[in-house]
Structure formats: C-alpha cells, structure tokens
Symmetry: C2
C-alpha cells in the first residue's frame, strides 16, 4: 500500500460518505452528502463536498457502490439502490476532476478490504468476510488481495444453497444462507411462529430484541437462533472446505448475536469440515467500525 | 512459466507416474514404478527410474501426492493411500538427489494445474476444476495462480453441503455434493432402488452402464441422473456465487455423463445464480488427458 492520503467515497442509496484516508486506514477528514439519483447532480454535490480537500496532494479516488460493478472498466452495471444502469462512474468522476486514478468496486468488496486493513492489519493471507445484515453479503481476500472473480461478482456467500426446497430467496433461488440469517427472514419467521402460537407480536421486533429474549430464556427465540446458527455453521463449513481461509470475519447487526449463533454453528463445523482447515481457521466478530466502507473504498487505491 | 524441462512425479496409492515435461506441458519421456509404502525403498525405486534423465539439465521436481499436503513446508501431513504420516517429502527428495527445487502439492491441485495449462492453455484467470470420480474433488486456479488457502487444503467442492439431513458422507458430514455424485454413492443408490422394486441387480453396475441405460430410456436410470444433475447444478451455483469463475472444468469418469447431468443441472443454475456471473462462466468437460496429473505435478515448478 503506497504511503499517502487518498479520497474514499462510499456511495449508498440514501447517503454518500466521503473521507480522506491514509495508507494505514487512518481518517484525516470526513464529510457526507445526501444521495441524489441524477449522476450529474450527485457529482456536483460530491465535488462541492471535497473542494477544500483538493488542495492536498491525493493519491487517487476509491469508490464503493452498492450494486453490480465492473471494477476493471469502472462501470456500475446496475445499482437498484441508486436507480443506475450502466453508469461509467470511473470516467465520469475523472472528467469531473476527482483525483486520479479512480478505482470503483462493489461496496461489500470495499468494506471487506477495509476490514482486512483496519481490523486485521492486513495480516492473514486469506480472509472471508461475511456481512450479516438485512441480507447476507461478503467479500474475499485471497492470497492477500481482494478477489473479484471474472466479472467482479465474486463473494456472495449469502446465496450458497442450504436447503434446495427451502424458503424462496430474493435472488430467485431457494433456501439460500440468507433465508436463514438475513434480518427480514428472521423477523418474518418469528412473526409467523408467534401468530401460529396465538402469542402477541411485539412492536419493533428486531434481531436485537429476539437476541435479548433468547438470552432471558425465551424458548421460541432460542429456537430461532439455534436454527440460524446451524445454517451459519453449514455455510461456514462450505466456505472452509472450499477456500481454507485463515480467518472468517463476521460483520453486520446480526453478528451481534454471535454468542447465540455459535452454540449450534460449532457442532456443524465440527462435523462437516476436514480437520486441517478447521484447525487453521479463526472465526471472529468485527468490532463494527462504522467507517470500514469508506476506509476500504479509499484503500482500493493501492 | 520458465522455459525448460522439469521432472513430474504423480504419487498414487498403487502406482507412481514419472515424466519429463516442458513449460508447454509437452511430455518428453515417461516412466512408472509400483508404489511401495516405505519411503526409503520408494525413493530408491524412483531414483532408479529417473537415473537416465538426470544427465539433462532439469529445472526442478514437482510432486503430486494423494493426501493432506503442506505445500509450503513440503510435508505430507497424512496420506491414507500411501500409509504416510508427516513425511517431509521435499527434504527427503532433495537429499536423495532429485533435481531442485522440489515442490510438493496435493494430487488434485496438481491435476487442476495441469488441466489449466494443457486444456485451457493458461487462459482463463479463474478456473474451478471439479473431478467427478470415486469421490468428488477439485482444484482452484484464482487470478491465474493455483490457490491453496491457509494450509493447502483449499478446493474441496465435493464437501459442500447440499442436504443437511442427507446421506452420511465419508468425510463425516451429511448430504455433501459427493453423496449425490460420487461413483460409489450412485451405484449404491441404483442397487437399493432396483432391490426395492424387485428388479435384478446387474453385475458390474457402473456409472457408464447406468448412463447407457438412461440414454436407452430406462426410467430409473434417468431418475438417477436427474437427481445427480440437480445436485451438480446446486453445487455449481454455490461455486458461481462465491467465486465467479470464468470456467468450470469437469473431469473424471462421471463427467462422461455430462449430457445427462446438464439437463437438470442447468435449470438449477439458472434459478440460483446472479445473471452477471452466470453469463460469464463457461462449463466444459475435460477431454480426459490421462497425463494431466503428472504434467501438472511437473508444472508446479514454475
């Protein structure tokens, strides 16, 4: 990683985070603007936000975008969140005067890259990041590099199939890991089971509240985490057998229930993985630095 | 890949294949010896076999071994086939005068590396090799390099879980891809179903004979391939979503039934993968060069 400061942009559906980041992942300045969908208007807003920073010598601009990104060409193929379709983001940002080179990638890849450098100090050679949030996403660092695959689409562990006949998934598949661990699926399951039992559905049912109920001994909540943990264990086993990572890092809100998940995940991993890779892998929970996305975006400029 | 000839050794449980291979994977000479389990005796036999070749200038020795191999240290951790336990193969071969450097790896990795160079001319950046034989093995070429993972254990696609409550697998898990596609499981399924229906069990039931029966319209045989194909489709979907390869190469005897497998595999892949990586991946059957193992072993010396 070259010494110096680069501009990071984390381009989300409601908000854009900007920051100046050095090679160690240290934040030198931050800003944010609201997301507008018109690229021209958005770039003008971003340009205004970074104007005071441009007096400094910057190594380049790294951008993480929620969506399907062709990182090689710097094109956002499709971003449902931004309502974008084939936007040549790299070219547009370079034209708009953002520091060159401009490197564009998927936001989950950028966050994984940020976690790798900030939380793990770039140490393990092979890291799998699993983000347990509304959906289940991720990113792969293989042989010390962000692994993108043929089209920049690598690293979708949320769509490993766990039960071929299971719940329909947003991706079009059935019984994906995400249908066992994604926030909306967990809440839907809980709601359904409560109604089935004639119990009231509490307002503001969240994974956090279900986690707290489980820790107080609520059987239905415990059952939910037991199932989700088993699914996590099977999904991690697939990853361990296929990729033999040094470290698996769990991020996102649901990772806060790791204490509950790991109880049933561990026996699955024990049963389903080979001894050598099982002993080698360290499974840990991220300390949840909220800036990993923008830091990782900046560090895309290596 | 450096220009020149290297020695390749494919160390199997019953036979050792040796060959001189150039940087293009071309075979300059071959030999073989029977496997003996005593390493000292085995090395003496191998030494005799290669003696006439040692007058040539060789770039090194590459060895593929069936078992759990620490490629970095050049140690065979365990090889059930060779009845070996912690054999420092690299050091022993170097001491015995084999051309240096000696590079040791798992035989499936070596075969995948051979297929990459010989069949695919080293072209796709990201290749997943799936070997459908007695078991289901594999190897990963990622960003143009053999990917080994933390302990050299990466690339076991046969032990992705397809059905958490499925058939007990040799690995200790349940419902692994191998239990749907491995030769012995296919034959056991057929035998069981024939007996259940009061039909005679033909002598010498093989995947080949079951394939031929299916092509003649036998319903039970068609059902077997339909199930196996669905499992293959789900396993390949997991691989496509996780690794986004350019190419998936199917090798091994069962790959000869690709025409039957793909009928039910394709709809699963269609339903379970994202469009961008699905469109990018080419699934092809190996032309089954029987020397890929020894060629790939030799080419471990880059």
């Amino acid at each position: 990683m070259k010494k110096g400061v680069r501009l990071g942009i984390d381009l989300g559906g409601t908000r854009v985070k900007l920051a100046l980041i050095d090679e160690k992942g240290k934040i030198h300045a931050t800003a944010h603007v609201d997301t507008v969908f018109n690229p021209r208007k958005l770039f003008a807003d971003l340009r205004d936000a970074v104007r005071p920073w441009l007096k400094r010598k910057l190594l380049g601009t790294g951008v993480g975008v929620a969506g399907d990104v062709d990182s090689t060409a710097g094109v956002v193929r499709i971003s449902p969140n931004l309502k974008w379709n084939r936007v040549p983001l790299k070219k547009l940002l370079e034209k708009a005067g953002f520091p060159r080179p401009v490197v564009v990638d998927n936001d989950a890849n950028a966050a994984a890259w940020g976690a790798y450098h900030v939380e793990l100090k770039g140490r393990p050679r092979n890291l799998v990041v699993l983000t347990l949030g509304t959906g289940v996403g991720g990113g792969l660092i293989l042989d010390g590099k962000l692994f993108r695959g043929a089209t920049g689409s690598a690293g979708e562990p949320g769509h490993i199939t766990l039960d071929p006949h299971g719940t329909k998934c947003g991706c079009g598949g059935r019984g994906c890991l995400e249908t066992f661990l994604g926030k909306k699926y967990l809440i839907a399951w809980m709601r359904r089971e409560l109604i089935k039992r004639g119990r009231p559905v509490p307002k503001g049912l969240t994974p956090l509240s279900i986690g707290n109920a489980a820790r107080k001994g609520d059987k239905l909540s415990l059952k939910l985490w037991e199932q989700a943990g088993r699914a996590l264990g099977i999904g991690l086993s697939d990853i361990i057998n296929l990729l033999n990572p040094d470290t698996i890092l769990l991020t996102g809100g649901i990772a806060g229930s790791f204490d509950l998940l790991i109880r049933s995940a561990r026996p699955e991993i024990q049963a389903r993985t080979f001894a050598t890779p099982r002993r080698a892998v360290r499974i840990r929970v991220s300390s949840e630095n909220q800036h990993l996305g923008v830091i990782g975006s900046a560090l895309l400029v290596e």
